[in-house]
């Protein structure tokens, strides 16, 4: 996929710039009236959660495209999105836990938001295991794509969990749709917005890097297979 090679340095540079600006704003952000300095954890937690979900959306789209058109590129992107999404989910859960201990008084609660987010991590890891548990890579890719599409049912559950059920986790601070409202006041808001953009770029960059690595591995595997065939 030549396009990945072309965009990688551009996306990488944009990511670094956006991260630098975002972190500067985090450094400048005042303390929150309830949480004090712990509010800074939010700036990693919320953007990570957004990318964890966006990665799965991307993965689902790539899986549908792969099953429909059989483009190998779509399968490579799906495989890359699983690894990247898993990383963002891990940070979402870990940062939430580190925030929860002093603020809520617990590392973990089995409420709808936390539970459905944990299921997302299980999905990502399950997809990664399933792909390599089949001998035939094409069969592995198809099975993974089908499971990925079934798993997409978790996305609306995560997103609406804090609205549909009473949870320990707070409702969204940037509500859209019917009751549009911003619950983040003054200088506490810019770092969140800038880091959200930065993390979208970071996610894109990581997918690019991972996809090229996967492609290189497949090329090498194909070459080795061809050589073995030749030697026989």
């Amino acid at each position: 996929m030549n396009i990945l090679k072309k965009i990688q340095p551009l996306v990488g540079l944009a990511t670094l710039i956006a991260l630098a600006i975002g972190l500067w704003y985090v450094y400048q952000a005042p303390a929150d009236f309830q949480q004090g300095g712990a509010v800074r954890i939010l700036y990693i937690h919320v953007p990570s959660a957004k990318i964890a979900l966006l990665s799965y959306l991307f993965l689902t789209a790539a899986s549908i495209l792969y099953l429909w058109k059989r483009y190998e590129g779509a399968d490579i992107l799906a495989e890359a999105a699983a690894s990247v999404g898993a990383a963002f989910t891990v940070i979402t859960l870990a940062s939430g836990s580190i925030w929860g201990k002093p603020m809520w008084g617990t590392w973990w609660a089995w409420d709808a938001r936390l539970t459905s987010m944990l299921v997302l991590l299980i999905l990502y890891k399950g997809l990664m295991v399933l792909r390599h548990s089949l001998d035939d890579p094409v069969k592995g890719a198809r099975a993974t794509a089908i499971l990925a599409i079934i798993g997409a049912v978790d996305l609306p559950i995560i997103h609406y969990s804090v609205v549909w059920w009473r949870t320990l986790h707070q409702p969204p601070s940037l509500a859209t749709g019917e009751n549009t409202a911003v619950h983040i006041t003054g200088p506490l808001l810019p770092p969140l917005l800038i880091l959200s953009v930065a993390f979208i770029l970071l996610g894109l960059y990581m997918v690019t890097v991972k996809a090229r690595q996967i492609e290189a591995r497949r090329h090498l595997d194909a070459l080795e297979a061809a050589r073995m065939h030749h030697d026989e």
Partner: protein, 151 residues
């Protein structure tokens, strides 16, 4: 085609784990098991069903009701959803966000017609983030959001 045994185990395990956790989540979303706590109004309404059961009640620590027994970690307060109040007693360390006028989830065994003896207190944060120098505004806003979320 025969598959190496460990690969097959991985495949079956990953499928069980993924489909199992997804299925459990979807199922529990229909049974109400995902509702983390009762409001005080609900708890009183379901009084009989809840007796001697371990439950969670969520609401706001009513302003002006928090008292501490001098020299101990024993506290008492009212948890409210704006309509109903339930007296709570607790002994121990409270989370940093626990304070009057803010959200709380208390865990304990429901005894009919008695104060609620909490054995765990969790603070529930509202979705409001306000700079510390705008404290007054923040307190008013978070109260409003919290009571709205309890409806």
């Amino acid at each position: 085609m025969s598959m190496p045994i460990n690969r097959r185990v991985f495949m079956i395990l990953s499928l069980i784990l993924v489909i199992g956790s997804l299925g459990a989540l979807v199922l529990s979303s229909f049974t109400g098991a995902l509702v983390y706590f009762h409001t005080p109004t609900e708890a009183l309404a379901k009084n009989k069903d809840l007796t001697d059961k371990k439950i969670r009640i969520g609401g706001m620590v009513q302003a002006g009701t928090l008292t501490r027994e001098a020299g101990t970690l024993k506290i008492r307060f009212l948890v409210t959803d704006g309509k109903t109040q339930i007296p709570v007693r607790y002994e121990g360390i409270v989370p940093d966000l626990f304070r009057e006028g803010q959200g709380v989830v208390v865990e304990g065994t429901w005894k009919n017609g008695q104060d609620f003896p909490a054995d765990t207190i969790l603070a529930k944060h509202s979705e409001d983030y306000v700079p510390v120098e705008m404290n007054e505004q923040g307190i008013a806003k978070s109260k409003e959001s919290l009571l709205k979320s309890l409806k």
